[in-house]
């Protein structure tokens, strides 16, 4: 018997499932993290000077979060802006968030302004557009209508939030927040082709600017959390009763504007709501019922200390008119309580209900948790048996459920069951056993209590080193490596390497941080075009005192640095401009003529050693007798300079005359003459 399937109910079912899920996500977001540095992001369409890849690309030189941002450059002194577009893929109402950092170049072109953000029809700068915000050359940020919102500094990040609404078919409402502070709301007439503007445009009219952390959010994501269905609880100065029906405080948070709370004759009066947890509130609102009131609104984190977010004003209804809605965008404020304070009423004094409110509202961006959520994936290896590990996921805020963690290696891909640790609602742990030398991708998916989710992947290279064997432990980008010599370890050890970026610089982490028999050779390759003077490059090690240089050798022909380390940790390459020495390893051996020469009584002897070797440097008198030993032992490759004070090994001052200094390595012997003249 065949089972028949009705397509239409099936599709409806699918849509029914999809809609609530997608409403919990930003329509799209962009941090430019997935693109290669130096490339133009493939999801964005370049226009104008943005087509010039030499000045417009994903960069690690500046960013607000993560490790990358998009850099655009408008030609200086010209009229050739850098522009890029991304499809909005959303209908109003929505919010756009963009982090912007402006360069500090002098502007002299035909459009001496910096960043400008628009909605644009199509992907041509000549097409109609709606200006959303401008960073003017005079240091002000202006709105769609040209009003100054505030001033700005160059080379500083600003987080811009723009709410775009269409209250009527012929009107646009645009609200602004800058760095979380509410600025203004403008009601504007439509511009030409407003309905056809389906692209977000980022442009830099002149100079450099950086963009990061872009989010386009449906306004459904802005939710009223002052609802009993979200766990909110209301109380009030009093609850009026009429004809046996109590006008409960909870009626002001039931989502029904027609049911209202009323005070039992009290004036002034107050209504207070406690949310289920702390939220970042960006807008509050009231549905008025029956009477016109003078009121203010306060928020609080603890229910004791209150911040006024809407100062005393009159409601916009009139006596007897209901329900009437009022919304108040506010500066982003963390709170768990909201209080509506009513100081006067239009109700006649004889009226039993002095205060009357249909709904009290507090709105938050439930997706903001996704952006703000910080969590870490740590690997705790057993010190004696490094193949056994616990994978720890620690978040900065509670999660809805245990994170999903999986580890993919060359051998297999396994899910790691995670368990909430005792005494914590933010730390989970699961056990994992390393099985192979290969890259391991530790993937984690976490979901916040508000339902927003975030993914993270930590990719590490795992190498099993065995005693009495030569093993190289490389980072996944092959730029850094450890050489584990047969002497280094006396037990099988799983080494882990990882590459991360801090402030645009690659940081290489190696573990486990155990002691080793021998110093370990660490090599890190550098980008030759990034450094003008490689002789001052060092490998830096992260210590309790911060980043500290370790003795390093620069091999310029191979674009790499070498150092020897006793324990493992975090390393990076950096230049040390104050270093007066010379780290670059010479390519050929050289014994240089001493200076001064003749000398009395001190002279300087220099030599270049291209490879680590045993070195002896002796002084002989004219009779061929060895009188002084300056060097006799193993030396690392490098440039050496030492001073001789014309004293013998016995400490005697030598007589004037001709002396010879001879250097010997395992393969080279050279002699030069010098004259001591008193």
């Amino acid at each position: 018997m065949k089972k028949s399937i009705s397509i239409v109910p099936c599709l409806i079912g699918i849509i029914f499932i999809i809609i609530p899920v997608s409403a919990q996500q930003p329509t799209w977001q962009e941090g430019f993290e997935t693109y290669t540095s130096g490339s133009f992001p493939s999801s964005w369409v370049p226009d104008g000077n943005a087509s010039n890849i030499n000045t417009n690309y994903v960069t690690t030189s500046a960013y607000l979060n993560g490790e990358k941002s998009l850099q655009l450059f408008g030609v200086l002194g010209g009229c050739w802006a850098a522009i890029t577009y991304h499809e909005l893929a959303i209908s109003p109402p929505f919010e756009i968030e963009v982090a912007v950092r402006n360069g500090n170049e002098s502007l002299t072109g035909c459009n001496p302004d910096r960043v400008s953000i628009h909605l644009r029809q199509g992907t041509l700068w000549q097409n109609p557009a709606r200006v959303l915000i401008n960073f003017k050359g005079d240091g002000t940020i202006t709105s769609a209508s040209g009003n100054v919102l505030q001033t700005y500094e160059t080379l500083a990040w600003y987080t811009i939030k723009i709410r775009y609404e269409r209250p009527t078919p012929a009107q646009v409402e645009i609200s602004y927040w800058i760095n979380g502070n509410y600025k203004s709301k403008e009601t504007l007439e439509l511009v030409n082709s407003e309905d056809l503007m389906t692209n977000l445009e980022l442009s830099v009219l002149e100079g450099t600017a950086w963009f990061d952390d872009i989010r386009v959010i449906p306004l459904q994501a802005i939710q009223n959390i002052s609802l009993s269905e979200h766990g909110a609880i209301a109380n009030a100065i009093s609850q009026g009763t009429y004809m046996g029906n109590t006008q409960y405080a909870s009626y002001a948070i039931d989502g029904d504007q027609s049911s209202s709370w009323s005070s039992q004759g009290d004036m002034p009066a107050w209504l207070k709501v406690k949310f289920d947890k702390v939220y970042e509130i960006e807008q509050v609102g009231v549905w008025w019922a029956s009477h016109k009131h003078t009121f203010s609104i306060e928020l609080s984190l603890d229910g004791n200390n209150w911040t006024e977010v809407v100062s005393s004003r009159s409601s916009n209804n009139s006596e007897g008119s209901a329900p009437v809605h009022e919304l108040f965008p506010i500066d982003l404020t963390k709170a768990q309580y909201i209080k509506l304070k009513i100081s006067s009423t239009s109700a006649p004094s004889s009226h039993i209900f002095q205060a009357s409110v249909g709904e009290i509202e507090a709105f938050t961006d439930i997706l903001a948790d996704t952006v703000n959520l910080k969590f870490s994936i740590a690997v705790h290896q057993n010190p004696a048996a490094t193949k056994y590990a616990n994978i720890v996921v620690a978040a900065e805020s509670p999660l809805q459920e245990a994170p999903f963690v999986s580890v993919k290696s060359a051998v297999d891909s396994v899910a790691v069951p995670m368990v909430l640790l005792q005494n914590s609602n933010t730390v989970y742990s699961g056990s994992y056993v390393f099985k192979s030398s290969s890259s391991h991708a530790i993937y984690s998916h976490v979901t916040t209590e508000t339902g927003a989710s975030k993914d993270s992947v930590r990719t590490v290279n795992v190498v099993l080193a065995k005693p009495a064997a030569l093993t190289t432990v490389s980072s996944l980008d092959k730029k850094a490596s450890l050489v584990i010599t047969p002497k280094t370890i006396d037990k099988e050890t799983y080494f882990i390497s990882e590459v991360t970026t801090e402030n645009g610089t690659e940081v290489y982490s190696f573990s486990p941080g155990i002691s080793f028999n021998d110093k370990i050779q660490l090599e890190i390759k550098y980008d030759a075009i990034s450094y003008t003077d490689v002789s001052k490059l060092f490998i830096y090690e992260m210590t309790e005192e911060g980043w500290m240089p370790v003795r390093s050798q620069v091999y310029q022909s191979e674009n790499k640095l070498k150092a020897y380390v006793g324990t493992l940790g975090k390393y990076k390459i950096s230049s040390n401009p104050s270093f007066e020495g010379y780290n670059r390893i010479p390519e050929t051996f050289a014994l240089k003529q001493n200076y001064p020469n003749p000398f009395n009584p001190t002279t300087t002897l220099q030599y270049d050693l291209p490879e680590t070797d045993h070195v002896s440097l002796f002084i002989y008198n004219i009779l061929g007798k060895q009188v002084a030993t300056l060097v006799n032992g193993f030396q690392l490759a490098g440039k050496y300079s030492l001073t001789w004070d014309a004293k013998s090994d016995l400490g005697d001052r030598l007589a004037s005359g001709i002396y010879f200094y001879q250097i010997r390595t395992s393969s080279i012997s050279q002699v030069k003459k010098m004259i001591l003249m008193k």
Binding site: K374, S376, A385, L421, S424, S429, P467, P512, G513, T567
Partner: protein
């Protein structure tokens, strides 16, 4: 033969009787030395020899050989605890956690109680997710020898035990005590573990910790 002896006797300056005398003396010396060797009171008994060889193999990370030799030692004398201890460590290195736990607990039941035993037991119990018991043995090991270094793998020492305890307490949700052990290894590390951010930082620090 007679002809040969007479020839030898006739050899200039050679006395045949004296020649045989030398042979007998030399033979007697060899016999005496051989007998002395057999009865040498310094000779190592088979059990001790096996144990020495087994730890030698262990020190060179040849855990399979070590395991075999420790088993042979145990067979030769099952009343001595060294074989159980060595076998327990060998099983730990060979990733046979259950067998390792069995051997450590047997050695413990037989009355052995030294820092090597409790330290090894602590490590294997951590790998077996028995964090509380692991801490107990780590503590005992450090009480018995506050400067413990594992003689057969000298890179393993008291710092590893302290790091292990930090990991164990973290897994048990006792973040404050975990922090105490972390601070033994990095005195400058300081976080408020009553906060989620502090616990996150502690998790990262345990991974990062150096054991200098």
């Amino acid at each position: 033969m007679k002809h040969l002896i007479s020839s030898l006797n006739s050899f200039e300056g050679f006395n045949m009787k004296k020649y045989f005398g030398y042979i007998i003396i030399i033979w007697s010396v060899f016999v005496y030395m051989g007998c002395q060797g057999t009865n040498n009171p310094d000779t190592v008994d088979p059990y001790t020899q096996k144990i020495t060889d087994a730890w030698g193999a262990f020190s060179q990370s040849n855990y399979l050989s070590a395991r075999t030799l420790f088993i042979e030692a145990r067979v030769s004398d099952s009343t001595k605890t060294d074989a159980y201890l060595g076998l327990a460590w060998s099983y730990l290195k060979l990733d046979s956690l259950t067998l390792s736990v069995d051997q450590f607990s047997t050695a413990l039941r037989m009355g052995l109680s030294n820092a090597d035993l409790h330290a090894g037991y602590a490590f294997v119990l951590n790998a077996s997710k028995q964090y509380s018991l692991s801490n107990s043995h780590a503590e005992t090991a450090l009480n018995l020898n506050p400067t413990w270094v594992f003689a057969y793998q000298t890179l393993l020492n008291k710092n590893d035990l302290q790091l292990l305890e930090a990991q164990n307490y973290f897994q048990l949700g006792d973040f404050a005590t975990s922090l105490t052990f972390v601070k033994l290894l990095n005195i400058t590390f300081s976080v408020d573990v009553s906060t989620a951010a502090g616990r996150l930082a502690l998790a990262d620090e345990i991974e990062r910790l150096k054991n200098s």
